[in-house]
Every structure is written in C-alpha cells, then in structure tokens.
Symmetry: C2
Subunit: 442 residues, 2 copies
Amino acid sequence: MTAPIAIRRLNAADPDFARHLDHLLSWESVSDEAVNQRVLDIIQAVRERGDAAVVEFTQRFDGVQATSMADLILPRERLELALTRITAEQRKALETAAARVRSYHEKQKQDSWTYTEADGTVLGQQVTPLDRAGLYVPGGKASYPSSVLMNAIPAKVAGVAEVVMVVPTPRGEINEIVLAAACVAGVDRVFTIGGAQAVAALAYGTESVPQVDKIVGPGNIYVATAKRHVFGQVGIDMIAGPSEILVVCDGGTDPDWIAMDLFSQAEHDEDAQAILVSPDAAFLDKVAASIDKLLPTMERAEIIRTSLQNRGALILVADQAQACQVANRIAPEHLELSVADPQAWLPHIRHAGAIFMGRYTAEALGDYCAGPNHVLPTSGTARFSSPLGVYDFQKRSSIIFCSADGASELGKTASVLARGESLTAHARSAEYRIASNKGQGE
Amino acid sequence: MTAPIAIRRLNAADPDFARHLDHLLSWESVSDEAVNQRVLDIIQAVRERGDAAVVEFTQRFDGVQATSMADLILPRERLELALTRITAEQRKALETAAARVRSYHEKQKQDSWTYTEADGTVLGQQVTPLDRAGLYVPGGKASYPSSVLMNAIPAKVAGVAEVVMVVPTPRGEINEIVLAAACVAGVDRVFTIGGAQAVAALAYGTESVPQVDKIVGPGNIYVATAKRHVFGQVGIDMIAGPSEILVVCDGGTDPDWIAMDLFSQAEHDEDAQAILVSPDAAFLDKVAASIDKLLPTMERAEIIRTSLQNRGALILVADQAQACQVANRIAPEHLELSVADPQAWLPHIRHAGAIFMGRYTAEALGDYCAGPNHVLPTSGTARFSSPLGVYDFQKRSSIIFCSADGASELGKTASVLARGESLTAHARSAEYRIASNKGQGE
C-alpha cells in the first residue's frame, strides 16, 4: 500500500489562477556552459579529423571496441536480419503501424503549382524533396522503434533519396526492434554512433558518413545542444522539451481510463506533464481516486508519482468555453478531448500539437499507429509550430517567369521602389526590361 | 577612369574546381562572445524590468529622448499620415506591389483536411493562423519598405489577427516610406524600438509591448543573435547570411543586362555574392567588359567593386548539365536562368530560393513587385528551406477521432508496440479501448 499522490488542484475561478497556471507550465531547459563547451569541442574535432574523431569518441563515450568506422556501419542486410529476430507479433505490429503512418503522410505531400497572368507571366512554386536526411535515434532505454517509423517514413514519403540513421550502441548493446523498424521504414544506411559526434558527422560529413541536409529525431542534452549548434549548416526539426498531455473531460468517461491516459504521459520521465481539466468537480475526485488505486499496479510507479506530484494538476473550470481558454493558453503537445461531442469543440481549439477526440481516442493510439506523427511541438510551441510531417522534408523554390510585356510593366514599379531605397543597380537592372528603354538591351 | 575589376575566373573542367568552389562559397557568421553576452544581458533586463529597460536601452543605443514607452508607440493614424507624405508615384508603386504580393500569397494558404476510414475513424490536420506576429524592420540605411510588404503581407493573408512591427529611429529619424508600407501592408501597431531589446520585448512581452508567437524580419548582428536566443520561446524565421545571386546565361542575353543583374546583388554590401555561370567563354569576357564599363557609372561603385572582387566569380562550364550541377551545389538564394528555354532547365534545378526564368526576369523585379517573397534562404540553406510564405504564419494540429471499432483494432497494435518499449501505461491505456476488455471501462 502506497501513500496517496498529492496532485495539485487548481480552480479557474481563483483570482490567482493565471499566475498559478503560469507557474505550473514554466519550463526552461538549462543551457549548461560545460555541456556547451564539450559539444563545441566535439564538433570541432569531427570537422577537423572526421572518421578518426568519431571512432575515438564512440570508444570513449559508448564503450564500444571499434577500430575504424567500418566497425560502426550496419548494411541494409543487417536490418533485414533484425526483422527475422523479433517476434511475429512484433513484426506484424510494426508493419501495420508503418502502413498506417505511410498512408496518412501520403496526404501531406505538397505539389508544385504555377499560374499564368494575362500578359503571359508565370508565377508559382516548385516543390522538391531534400536530397538526404539524417535520423538520430537514442540508444539504451529511450530507444523507441516507434520513433524510427515516425521520423523516417515522412522523409521517404517526401521522396528523400537517402535516409541515414545513427543510433549509439552503448557497450555494444543493439536493439533489434529498432533495427527492424528501420528496415520497415525504408532507412537506407545505419551508423552505430551517437551523441554530439554523430550530429557533427551528419552535419559536416566525414570520409564514411555522408553529409545530410536535415537532422531529425530526439536525443539527450548533448544531442540537443549539438543540433542547436549545427542549425544553419543543416536543417533541424525542433528542440523538444518534456512530453505533456492535457486531458479535457466532461465527466462522462470512465475515471480509470482517464487516470491511465495521464499515467501514459507521466511514465515517460519525471519532467513529463499530465494535466486534467473538467467542469465536473466530483469527476476530478473520482479520477484522483483512480490514480491512487491504479498507481501501485504500475511498473513505472515511482516515475509516474514524481511526475504527477511535481508537474501534474487537476483543474476545475466553469464550462466548455473556459476549458478551451485553458487549452489555448497551454497550447499542449497532446490534447485529449474526452467529451461527448468533440466535433463541437474543435473550432474553438487554436493551439495544440495533436487533438485526440472522443472517449475512445487514447493518446497511446496516436503514439504508435493511428497514422499521424508522434513528433509534436512541446512546451507551448504549438502556438507557432506543427507536427513533424512530409512538409519538413520538402522545400519550395519560387518561380518567376516574366513575359516581355510583364517585365516592362513590373520594371516601372520596381524602379520607383528601388530608387526609394537608394538601390540604383536594382533600379537600372529593372529599367533595362522596360519596353521603351529596350534599345539599350538586346 | 577606374581600374578594371579583378573578378575571379573558374573553369568547371579544372580538376581542382570543386575545392575552388567550396572556398568561394565558404561563409560562416562569426559568433562573437562579447556580442553574445551583451545580448543575453539585454534580454535578461527586458524580462525583469519590461518597459523601463526597453526605454533605457532605446535612449542609450538609438539616442532617442523618450521618457516612457508612450513616446515609442506609433498608432495606426500615424501610418496613414505617412501615406500622405510620400509622393503619389511612390504610393502607387507601394500599392501595386502590395496587391501583387497579396495575390500571389493567397495561393499559398493551406486548408484543414480530414478523411474518414471504413470503420468511422477520422484523421487529418486542422490548420490555424498564429495569433500574433512580430516584424522587425531595421532603421537607418538598411530600412527597406519592400521588406515591410514581404514580411507583413504573408502574415495578414494567413489570418494572423495582430501584426506588431518594431523599427528603431536612430536620433529620431523616421523613414516615411517604411511607415507608408506598414500602412499598406496592414500592420496593426508600430513601436519605434530596435536591437536586441525589441526582440526581447516581442518574445516575452512587456507592459506595453504584446508578446508575439513568431518574430520575422532582418536585422544586424545584435538582432540576429537575440533571435537565436529567443528561438523556442517564440518562432523565428531564418538567420539570414549575405545575399547572393547565381546567374546562368547561355550567352544570348545583352551582357550589360547581366552585368547590371550582378551589380544589383553586389550593391547590397561588401559580403554579398554575385556569380555568373556560362558555357560560352567569349560571353564571360563580354560581361567582364560590361562590368568594367558600367561600374564607374554606379552610385555604390565601391561596395560593388569590393563584393565582386572578394566574393564574385565568372565560371565557365561545359554545357547545360554542368551548369545545373553547379547551381545545385551552390543552392543559391537567387537563381537567374537567363537562357532561351528556361522551362527545359527547371526540372533539373533541385535547390534554389527563387528561380528567375528567361532574359526579362531580372531579380530586381522579384525583389519588389512580381509577387513571390523576397525573403529567401541564403548560404546554401535552400537545400532544406523555403521562401518566407503564408505557411510560416500557419500551423497544423493533427486530428485523430477513433470510432469504437477503430480504437479496438488500433489498441491491439499499440499494445504490442508499447510493451516492446516497456511503456506499460501506454499499453494499458490502449488496451482499455479494445472491445473484449471493455468490461474494465465504461
């Protein structure tokens, strides 16, 4: 028998509610100067000494007995072998999930477009895939096969010619399900390297590791710091904060279900955040009772307890409108609308990474296999960013093809504006294309 | 009479060409530790003391005699006044450009989408605008009205409710065309503040300056450094490097036109880069002669000379295929295809910010009024990023609405994968939704 969890209770009617909520949500990743300097040194070494530096760091940090990069490369055949080493049930689950994720992401593909104006001028955008993407996969206990699917499949759907994965194997430990997932997702090459050295190798290239155009995937503080530093040299996805869920419930869902949904977020780590909002005070009590009842049965009970006590909350609101206000203020990574008519709520939700609608849509279904991506904006960044998607592996080039008549007209406007900015080469370049001036041209 | 420009000549047939090209393109913005620390101090001060800190920094850095933030706010009426203070020709040019930019960007708007599966499960994405965007506009000589249009109009087209602009007024100097452009573009509020303090105010909010969700727009090294630091707290656009153009010409365009197109890039600043590629060696000589002939007639001759000598080049290639290879290696911000049949080239161009097609399409037309955005990825980042667009002011939320049957099926797959990751709360949350287990649920 364990002690009840002291989970924070808030009431939106409290005059201090906004301040309490701000405090609850406050999170800032500490940028440790020592970590920063070590990462900069590692990046510099990889840029200067390539493979040799990567091998040294891998020996030192991962305890791997590699003598050259050749020992740190897994060919595609090794991934196929992994697929035979997992259980038939696991293989089927991976393939089912991959098929659903692929099918959903196919709908995100963006096409080139153009239109032609009356004078023959053509405008538009050409959409093309990145040439090569790098996928970081953590080693050890945070090594999730589902993340391999979620990061690699959008890249392949976008048409990225080569997806290169890096995954450290601390003390030689290989996760067969991760390799099987890489096989199913269509990963082209795997290097068993990790940390800042793997990020640096992908960003700048070495003799063996090809330079990529964008690096995606989660990692520890060294990986996150390295990604920040190489941003600009390559694209990066986002710098993820702790995972969070906001469950909004009208009181009509089984409280055990809601408790377990909160647990599924809290079990990630002690910093994860799980919040329940309801207009039904008695229901909040029921969920609290379910939490106390179910917690002792959980394998990760201590992580869940710490997470819920430090960062969790049960929030009482007046009504649906106030629940939506709280949701929009939080801009949660995961928003569960466990209510009778979630479609009626949807137009009022402005900010959320993913919206799980109705009593049956547990976040866990979306984490693995519903189809949408589980890489989502955290820490309120859903105010301005989106789930990882095919669009992250495509980019656009503007297309401008002026007819002679079009250029002549545009040249007049450009000339006035350029001279207003004192950019006379711009003005004269435009003026060459004005019909009456054409004697100066061709 | 000035001395001829010593502009670099490269030949793609040279065995050392790749190395020479790498050297020509190499550019790394230096992260100055002193700048970094000053910026961090300014951000900290603004977070702690709000308006008071912003006013102090504005007095100190901009030499403005403000006593409170009230002195640093321009209401919408002041923008309308500016519109009456510029010439009729300038007003017409601004309005023409704005209408074309708006019309082009309307075509970039993305809509929400969903689809329903056989078992009733609904999947999709809800697309919503950002609530509030911040637009940084430099003061002094780099204060460009065209940039106001290019940054503000996509935000308004996306449906951003409030666009807040900041523009410093060094020694009180106000650029009326910039304010007029803000009026035409639909900017809602203007604060006459700048530097890292303006970025911090937009990112964190003060008593007077509202917190925004994303900050866009160019700025000096303090502004760029501040944007890097607040990234995550708010969204940012990109950290721009020096502007660049790659002109590819088949030899059939008037060499004076090409010389002026190169000048229009080089006149921006000494670090700007202008490169010409042609399979016609005699044409390269003609352009070199045009450069020498026209340079003395240019107002910004010294900037152009320095830029072309330090970072410019005339590159001889064997044929169209090799020209495309060079273009894709450079991934230029601006690519001018000054050739007879640019449509035939387009499928071979994989990386470019904007593609200016045909002999009439001077880059300057696109800079001001063709319609596409002039905020483009620099320094090779077109390999993985896109022009600023409406999509930068919209974000997506995944939508997942499982039917009872759908959840039951998905629950089985999720359960297997979650247990493979030792995340048993995830597994149990999913298992509650499997039909045969439902006795445990509702």
